[in-house]
């Protein structure tokens, strides 16, 4: 295979960033080496809930290689013992009064090397007085439960918020008149994104210039800079956050973690750069987990399977601090999109969130701000309904899916879906799968005691947060800037605010500009991940890069094109109204030969060519894109799984995924993102869970206990595509980074429960481990998230 020519714009092309990654020349945060750099390490709590009686750091301070030991008391003198979270709560940087989850940060050691820093942790003596533990969300609300957040004045329980969406009365009315109602308790257990690169930072505070340079593998460098400025009192122009290459994020690297703040303080105290890198255990037990939603759902329908309404009651476990990073006006994220892809008039949900003695977080792992939980709930409920009605689950979905003419469609909870052709996607998935033949095969196998299942899920996502009038994080509106500089030779530099964690922005964003200007993508250098070099924007998570920053990239290129048009008119001595654009050049209407290419125009724009009055010259432009609405990608997934009833082992044999994310800028990259999300879904459905014992001990604190899917658990994926552009996005693109993670878990679970129908198994909670499946076959399903 020889390298395909790069397309002039959209299309398959190899990634420009691969050249450095393939040679081991990426620059991840742990690769940053600065002269005189010291290493930090965090001492963590072994208890889930305990009062700190005393901390003795004298032996650690006496260690010959130790430069500083920082405790909460030290931070308190700087007013930094607590920091604000992204959800208007507070979180301890280093514990002063008590520890509230196992693995919480208690002290920070700065030493000459990483081994010495860890040695010194062993020398710190902490006297703890253990307290009763709340390890489960249902315990948190019980009368007399220990109050975790007694740091908050007047707090007498563990309640965080109650939040509602939809029309309660209308939903009750729909249920009262329904022929059929089914209900289901659906647990989405606590999971963790577990990027292979853990979180870390190198903080370098230069006393001479007063400038803080912070290398940090954050998904949101600009937001971090502003928060540091607001919290630490450093002037914002003196803070530079550099997100270098990032070894996977998946939402794990959005929040500000105590270790980052400690690294900054360590650098200020020692006058040297300080590197802090978590180890794997620290990453799993203390950083942003995902899910932990305990959902009760009910769905009402007519006897022939027309859905009439859905209602949901959720208990959300937010851990010890409410630190979810999401649009601040939406405390339960976008969960109220739980009505899914179906047409019915009434819906209501209520979410109650509580503190527990577990790590903080909840919004992470490609969840599109809780849409993962919503899709899992509705897709399980639809399957439960299908079984109750004795209908094929595909038929029931086709009967209730929104139809193309219903778009734009406003859901019962207020979302305006932009565009969609749902039946086409599901029909295509069924065609690729050979759905009817699969059902035949299933019947034949059942007759000889073999158990295969076919699971369907259909999802609608809302991504690309978002319109600044509704969406902000801590008051920072979620619009993204872009700057495009065109050099005299017609090559350019695009500066974007979003930050790649492997999504291939340096390729994709160059292709967006290339499409607009008609030049090769390789002529555009994409700069990202450095707050001194790029315009402000909220970062990369929630599948927002293409929907928001991608819109900005297209629009800034169009601005450049408009400027180029004026220059071209001057060059050709015609009016701009006489010019027509075709990819790469302007020509005079009626005379295709009379034309100027974008490269010729670029050179002229920097030359002594006389330009019309008021035209400054050069072609550079800047813009800020404030999306008018979210974009709504969707898809239809079918999983075929075989279950061994003797062992409970599930084998995903086939996985068919039809995704509609609008036009695909680089189909190769889009397919890669879908593949990764499907593996995530298989992992969550079959293997991954963060479980706790009653004392709050974490039972998944290494990759030996927290199991991730390998090449052997994943099948060869079968992908399909439909294209329904977003009508409001500059290039119609909808975003795809989280689609497969959101859409795939219910397909796997539905497949396994379908396989187990002969055993009368109608319910299973993830993960569907062999023990869990086998127990369910024996009639004793497990509670998978607690070792009670």
């Amino acid at each position: 295979m020889t390298q395909t020519e790069a397309p002039i714009g959209f299309g398959r092309m190899h990634r420009v960033e691969d050249a450095r990654f393939l040679r081991g020349r990426g620059n991840y945060v742990d690769d940053v080496q600065l002269p005189g750099m010291l290493h930090g390490a965090v001492l963590r709590s072994p208890f889930a809930h305990a009062r700190i009686v005393s901390i003795d750091t004298s032996a650690a301070e006496a260690h010959p290689k130790v430069k500083a030991v920082i405790t909460g008391q030290v931070l308190a003198t700087l007013n930094l013992a607590w920091m604000p979270t992204m959800s208007y709560d507070t979180q301890a940087v280093l514990a002063t009064d008590k520890v509230r989850f196992q693995g919480q940060e208690v002290a920070f050691v700065v030493a000459e090397d990483r081994y010495a820093a860890r040695d010194a942790l062993e020398l710190i003596e902490v006297d703890y007085e253990p307290l009763d533990v709340v390890a489960d969300a249902t315990q948190a609300m019980a009368a007399g439960a220990p109050v975790i957040r007694d740091d908050k004045e007047g707090k007498t329980d563990n309640h965080i918020y109650d939040w509602e969406a939809g029309d309660h009365a209308a939903t009750d009315a729909a249920f009262a008149n329904a022929a059929v109602v089914v209900s289901e308790d659906v647990l989405y257990p606590r999971s963790h994104p577990a990027p292979l690169e853990t979180c870390g930072a190198v903080a370098d505070f230069n006393k001479a210039t007063g400038k803080l340079t912070m290398w940090c593998n954050t998904q949101a460098p600009h937001a971090h800079r502003t928060v540091y400025a607001l919290v630490a009192g450093l002037p914002e122009q003196k803070i530079q956050v550099i997100s270098p290459d990032i070894g996977g994020g998946f939402g794990n690297k959005v929040p500000i973690y105590p270790g980052y703040v400690c690294a900054v303080v360590g650098s200020i105290v020692t006058g040297k750069p300080v590197k802090w890198m978590e180890d794997r255990s620290e990453n799993l037990i203390s950083t942003g987990f995902a899910r932990d939603y305990h959902m009760h759902g009910e769905i009402a329908a007519t006897a022939d399977g027309k859905i009439l309404g859905v209602k949901v009651d959720v208990l959300a476990d937010h851990g010890a601090f409410n630190s979810v990073a999401q649009p601040s006006k939406f405390p339960a994220g976008f969960f109220h999109i739980f009505t899914g892809s179906y047409d019915y008039p009434a819906a209501h949900c209520k979410v109650t969130a509580v503190y527990t003695n577990k790590a903080p977080g909840g919004v992470a792992y490609a969840c599109s701000f809780r849409i993962t939980e919503a899709v899992y709930l509705i897709e399980r409920l639809v399957d439960v309904l299908a079984r109750k009605l004795g209908m094929d689950p595909a038929e029931l979905r086709l009967k209730n899916l929104l139809t193309p003419e219903q778009f734009p469609y406003t859901t019962p909870t207020g979302w305006e879906y932009d565009s969609g052709n749902y039946p086409r996607a599901l029909n295509l998935a069924m065609e690729i799968a050979g759905y009817q033949q699969l059902r035949q095969e299933q019947a034949e196998k059942r007759s000889r005691g073999e158990y295969m299942g076919i699971g369907i899920s259909f999802f609608t996502e809302g991504v690309g947060a978002g319109p600044r009038k509704h969406m902000d994080i801590l008051g920072l509106g979620m619009a993204d800037g872009a700057e495009l500089r065109i050099h005299p030779t017609g090559k350019g530099v695009l500066r974007v605010s979003c930050q790649s964690q492997g999504q291939g922005h340096e390729t994709t964003f160059a292709q967006i500009v290339a499409e607009e200007l008609g030049i090769p993508p390789t002529d555009i250098e994409v700069v990202h991940g450095d707050t001194d070099q790029t315009p402000f924007g909220l970062g990369t998570y929630g599948s927002r890069s293409t929907p928001v920053s991608g819109g900005a990239a297209a629009l800034v290129a169009r601005k450049v094109r408009e400027r180029a048009k004026i220059v071209a008119a001057a060059m050709l001595e015609v009016s701009t109204e006489d010019l027509e654009w075709e990819k790469g050049r302007f020509y005079v209407r009626g005379d295709q030969e009379k034309a100027k290419t974008i490269q010729e125009i670029a050179l002229a724009a920097h030359s002594s060519l006389e330009l019309p009055e008021g035209v400054e010259g050069h072609l550079d432009a800047t813009t800020v894109y404030n999306p008018p609405n979210l974009t709504y990608p969707f898809g239809a997934y079918i999983c075929v799984a075989d279950v061994d009833p003797g062992t409970g082992v599930v084998k995903v044999r086939r996985f068919i995924a039809v995704d509609d994310c609008g036009p695909r800028i680089n189909p190769m990259i889009v397919e890669g993102q879908i593949h990764g999300g499907l593996a995530d879904g298989i992992g969550m459905a079959l293997m991954q869970v963060m479980a706790f014992d009653p004392q709050g001990n974490h039972l998944g604190s290494s990759f030996m206990d927290y199991l991730l899917p390998t090449s052997l658990e994943c099948p060869a994926f079968e992908l399909g595509e439909t294209v329904t552009p977003s009508p409001h996005h500059p290039i119609g693109a909808k975003g795809v980074g989280e689609s497969a993670t959101v859409g795939s878990p219910p397909a796997v679970v539905n497949a396994v429960i379908d396989a187990l129908a002969p055993f009368n198994v109608g319910h299973l909670d993830m993960p569907l481990t062999p023990a869990n499946v086998w127990s369910a076959i024996q009639g004793r399903p497990l509670r998978t998230d607690l070792a009670l």
Binding site: M1, R20, L22, D113, D245, S702, T710, S711
Partner: protein
């Protein structure tokens, strides 16, 4: 303790702590940061290097155990003739996204192809099952290794993917 380790064909003599892990020797002592670190428990495989031609997880081997042995890292895959077919295959088939698992994955793949030049998809899946990837779902990694198997010669490779 003084050790002498061959890395990518060059010999390095250094004084190291007995407890220094090979991954930190490569990254911190020699500055070869292409080898990554990911889990401490030899589950993830991002630290995979070759020691005397065999894939080894360098977070689970002491630097002193590499004394007198030859280590190959990602920095040693490319030769004067160009990129290794495995590197070309990963680019051609989009076998990497964030790039963090890629060095370890490629060294495992190289070792597989050295002992089995024409592996089946299942043999590839078994070979890389000790290397986790969180981005690709493995599909394109399997295709990348197949690509490398189908384009083994460096002469052919030099006409292939350029990076």
């Amino acid at each position: 303790m003084q050790i002498t380790v061959g890395v990518n064909g060059e010999s390095y003599t250094r004084d190291v702590e007995d407890r220094l892990l090979l991954v930190h020797f490569l990254r911190d002592t020699l500055g070869l940061t292409g080898t990554h670190w990911g889990c401490d428990t030899s589950n993830c495989g991002v630290c995979t290097v070759q020691v005397d031609g065999k894939p080894v997880k360098s977070c689970t081997m002491l630097a002193v155990m590499a004394d007198g042995r030859e280590v190959k890292t990602v920095e040693g895959l490319e030769t004067a003739a160009g990129l290794d077919p495995v590197q070309q295959g990963f680019m051609a088939c989009h076998g990497l996204q964030c790039g963090f698992c890629t060095p370890g994955m490629m060294l495992t793949a190289r070792a597989l192809l050295d002992r089995n030049p024409n592996p089946t998809e299942q043999e590839i899946r078994v070979a890389i099952s000790g290397n986790l990837c969180r981005c690709t779902g493995y599909e394109n990694i399997v295709q990348s290794v197949r690509w490398a198997a189908e384009h083994p010669a460096s002469a052919e490779a030099s006409e292939g993917v350029s990076a």
